[in-house]
Symmetry: C2
Subunit: 279 residues, 2 copies
């Protein structure tokens, strides 16, 4: 299916500090910043992973007190109503409750409300104690702005994630994230997370918009440095600071993505794949 | 199969300028520098792509005059004899003739002579006019130093390359290369080639040793900046200069590769893969 591409797509990534245990305050912060991003011209807004719940749970009860159904729960309803009211696409991480199971989920909402959801496939560290692994594969979503995919944080350590989304037609991958320092040294001079996403944007020829959180929660620090990468792999906005709440904006040329993959007269990043060798 | 790992593996990457049309002089330069690398302590030596032939051919006749069988041809025999004499592993790019076909090939030689060869899977730009695409898949090679894989230049634009080699047990991927500037801007502040290989080393938890050429040939410039990346993705040697002949050396801890992939108590970069989703 071909998607129609608007020429004036501006994406915004919201970098802020969700507070664990303060779901109502987090929702207020999300709403305030989504309105600010839209006022700044954004037609698609990306928020961090687990933006409504915070990240470092004391125990499952703390998570249970904040997680909500997707769609239909309080966070989903807020975001879908905002998307409708403001005529934008919103992609946000949130804590999902599904019966007695919990997922580290991203919701996609658009001008017509709920579009779909993605459940994080690759769980990081103690997330494995609280969340079930994603069971919805790697869906892509057709929005009025074009086809998009979603990946969450540690998903980006697996190049298969971006490859699958690209092969399924995503022109932009939205990445709600809570990046933490890597063992063995990081930040030389940028976080390895930024390196991984530059490489993924370049080798797939796609836009990638990463919205990270900031702050330190129960001893766990987060990296900030939200960034929007163009299909060449180089930033078109950011990286943002390591420690300040900010919104970064970039204009996307989604209609130029396919042409950008033709690196020479003889080469195309997608058709040059040797699927006979590696599938 | 488990390979025995020596503790004192030093890899060297030789960065130099092959001269197109001067295959005898190139072989002399290769021999001189392999001896220098071994004298500097190297037990495995990597040379650039097409190190014996140069890169920008005027026509097929010019390539034909320089290409030789692998093994058995002049370059292969030189490299295998040197590997035996010096008790080292050599991985080098060279122009291969096979009947009336040509391949952009890398040879692997060890203390017992010829080990194997790899034929570049992903051909760049006008290479498609002269060379056939690789037809040997992505082999790994068991050497006295451990299991290694080989990728050549544009192969590195396809994350599947490093993933397959890693899943097949390579602890070190040797990359003979002739990196050229990417369209749409590069060098911000490092070549995208360096970014791609950092990401590949990190996300697979493997060593990657890239030996690039320097110089400008018939208007085509090359990037230099040879680099040896550790399994964290960060350089353990280099990047080398953009324009000087150099040899860079790094000591490898091949026995620590598997442990390095365990990024947390709950995580392992290989077993965390969601092969149920993407194969």
């Amino acid at each position: 299916m071909e998607t129609t591409l608007r020429k004036d797509v501006i994406v915004a990534c919201i970098q802020f500090e969700p507070i664990v245990g303060s779901v109502a305050a987090n929702r207020e912060a999300m709403e305030r910043q989504i309105r600010a991003a839209q006022a700044g011209g954004a037609s698609i807004v990306v928020l961090p992973e687990l933006a409504d719940s915070g990240y470092v749970f004391e125990d499952e009860n703390e998570l249970a007190a904040q997680a909500s159904p997707v769609p239909g729960g309080a966070t989903s309803t807020l975001l879908c109503n905002l998307s409708r009211e403001l005529n934008i696409v919103v992609v946000s991480g949130l804590a999902e409750r599904d019966g007695d199971a919990f997922f580290n989920t991203a919701i996609v909402c658009g001008p017509d409300g709920f579009v779909g959801k993605y459940r994080k496939l690759h769980l990081w560290n103690e997330e494995k104690r609280y969340f079930r692994s994603g069971d919805l594969g790697l869906p892509v979503f057709d929005t009025p702005l074009g086809r998009i995919g979603v990946a969450i944080c540690y998903d980006g350590w697996f190049p298969e994630t971006f490859r699958q989304l690209t092969l399924n037609g995503a022109l932009l991958v939205c990445v709600p994230t809570n990046w933490v320092p890597m063992p063995g040294g990081d930040l030389q001079p940028e976080p390895m997370a930024n390196v991984l996403h530059k490489a993924a944007a370049h080798s797939n020829g796609v836009y990638i918009a990463c919205a990270d959180r900031i702050g330190t929660e129960r001893g766990q620090s987060f990296l900030g440095r939200s960034v929007i990468l163009g299909p060449t792999g180089w930033p078109v906005a950011g990286p943002a600071s390591a420690d300040r709440a900010e919104i970064i904006f970039a204009k996307l040329e989604l209609g130029a993505v396919a042409a950008g993959r033709r690196l020479s007269v003889f080469n195309d990043l997608i058709s040059d794949r040797r699927s006979d060798v590696y599938g």
